[in-house]
């Protein structure tokens, strides 16, 4: 995303309702800074994230997509994040196989008590994506303004 002629990566963060979203809240409460271009989408569980969501985020202009969920073993629905883990392992490996930069996708486990980890993860991920530049390989020209 270009803002005033400067490249700022647009990051879409899918956060599960029970851990990571609360973690993001905690980061806010504690006044921990993370980039304003991280757009959080709340999902009931990390396993709600369909591969299509990720591709569509890229289509609509995201430069990086991160999925955050409860730590393995802590999922509110017992096993949702175990399925997330398998699905995303395969999906990300496939994206890499197609030559799409592997640094643009990530899965991170963030608990409700880990506000600091949330902020640090977002800072670090945004920086990594910024270094790559704009998402060109999964862009849809029709969605460009």
């Amino acid at each position: 995303m270009q803002i005033n002629g400067e490249f700022k990566p647009l990051i879409v963060a899918f956060c599960c309702n029970w851990c990571s979203y609360a973690g993001a809240d905690l980061a806010g409460n504690n006044r921990l800074a993370y980039p304003e271009n991280v757009k959080i989408i709340k999902v009931p569980c990390s396993c709600r994230v369909n591969p299509m969501f990720i591709l569509r985020a890229f289509q609509r202009g995201a430069d990086g997509v991160i999925i955050c969920g409860c730590h393995p073993g802590d999922c509110h629905y017992t096993s949702g994040n175990y399925y997330t883990r398998r699905r995303m392992s395969l999906l990300f490996s496939m994206l890499n196989f197609l030559g799409i930069e592997k640094e643009r996708t990530r899965v991170e486990w963030v608990s409700a008590a880990e506000g600091a980890k949330f902020a640090a993860t977002m800072n670090e991920f945004t920086e990594a994506v910024a270094a790559l530049g704009e998402n060109k390989r999964l862009e849809d020209l029709r969605c460009k303004r």
């Binding site: 591969p51 299509m52 591709l55 289509q59 392992s89 490996s93 030559g99 592997k102 990530r106 390989r137």
Partner: protein
């Protein structure tokens, strides 16, 4: 052992109808051209004698047709299955897509099918007729007249890299009980993995941009049997016929392959039917290879009732970040 031929199958199909084992038979009949043999349902012995064919262009996997055909009546459907088709058959049973009781499956041994793309590469376009005697393929073309090609030169890629000549499901077997083969089917996947990121992107951009979104690959796939498909949803952003943007090609192909990940038996039908000759099987095989390395070897359809890797987990599964690295370096 004699190679299975048309006469043998016609006899068997007629017999199954006559003795009441089944009241219809799923087999193959001639299409518009000699090489586009098409799946068909036969209701009478007469029809079988007139239309049933079998030969080196009968690559079509009949297992998927059972889903709809078994719902059409109370009687049994007889079906002919090549070894790779029996894996699809098992996978469909695992997913409870049809009633096993309503099927009489005849396994037939197979030594590989011909690939019309390879024939065209050698003989040229404008094919008027093709016939194979099991050793040589006679091709007549509009422009170059008649040519004879060795059958072994035009065997399909999926058959050269066949994973199993063994029929894993049948009520009756014709021909030899084959064996599971240790094939080189992942070689090309490894080769792509070892390319640079830009090269990989270029390779796939080049292949996928040929796609005309005919949906044949989805329609033929025995693992794709949803009644409602995401790609028919006008909001899926990939419902267009010809992709309007290169994003759509990638979207369609990533999602198509992902939806069958862990359930794809590697039958190779998707690549066979693609009019653009896109090597779709490489996408599926990448998933199969990754599943094998991440979660242990798994062959979809080897057994009825096995749990597909994507609806299963262990607590110690590999993390996505590591998985991507492993998927890159393994065998590279």
């Amino acid at each position: 052992m004699q190679k299975i031929n048309s006469t043998m199958l016609i006899e068997k199909a007629a017999q199954l109808l006559e003795n009441g084992t089944a009241d219809r038979v799923l087999g193959w009949k001639k299409g518009e051209f000699d090489y586009d043999i098409t799946p068909a349902v036969f209701n009478s012995v007469d029809q079988i004698k007139k239309e049933f064919v079998f030969g080196d262009f009968c690559g079509a996997n009949l297992s998927k047709y059972l889903v709809k055909e078994t719902r059409k009546g109370d009687g049994k459907v007889a079906v002919f299955l090549k070894p790779c088709d029996t894996y699809s058959f098992n996978q469909l049973l695992t997913e409870k897509r049809f009633d096993r009781e309503k099927v009489y499956a005849v396994g037939i041994s197979c030594e590989g099918m011909a690939d019309i793309f390879k024939v065209k590469q050698i003989a040229g376009d404008g094919i008027v007729s093709v016939s194979s005697d099991g050793e040589n393929v006679k091709v007549e073309t509009l422009y170059d007249g008649e040519k004879t090609i060795k059958l072994s030169d035009v065997i399909a890629e999926r058959c050269i890299n066949c994973k199993s000549r063994k029929c894993v499901a049948y009520d009756e077997l014709m021909g030899e009980e084959g064996e599971i083969i240790d094939s080189d089917r992942f070689d090309m996947v490894s080769k792509i993995e070892s390319m640079s990121e830009d090269e990989r992107f270029g390779f796939w951009q080049n292949e996928l941009s040929k796609c005309i979104r005919c949906n044949a690959c989805r329609n033929v796939c025995p693992a794709c049997t949803c009644e409602k498909c995401v790609f028919d949803n006008p909001d899926s952003c990939a419902q267009n016929k010809a992709p309007a943007d290169s994003f759509e090609e990638k979207m369609f192909h990533i999602i198509r392959a992902f939806h069958v990940a862990g359930r794809c038996t590697d039958c190779g039908e998707c690549s066979r039917v693609c009019p653009q000759n896109i090597p779709l099987h490489l996408l599926n095989r990448k998933f199969i290879k990754d599943i094998d390395t991440f979660y242990g070897e798994y062959q979809a359809g080897a057994q009825v009732g096995s749990r597909a890797p994507l609806v299963d987990y262990t607590e110690g599964d590999i993390e996505p970040g590591e998985a991507v690295m492993k998927g890159e370096s393994e065998n590279a």
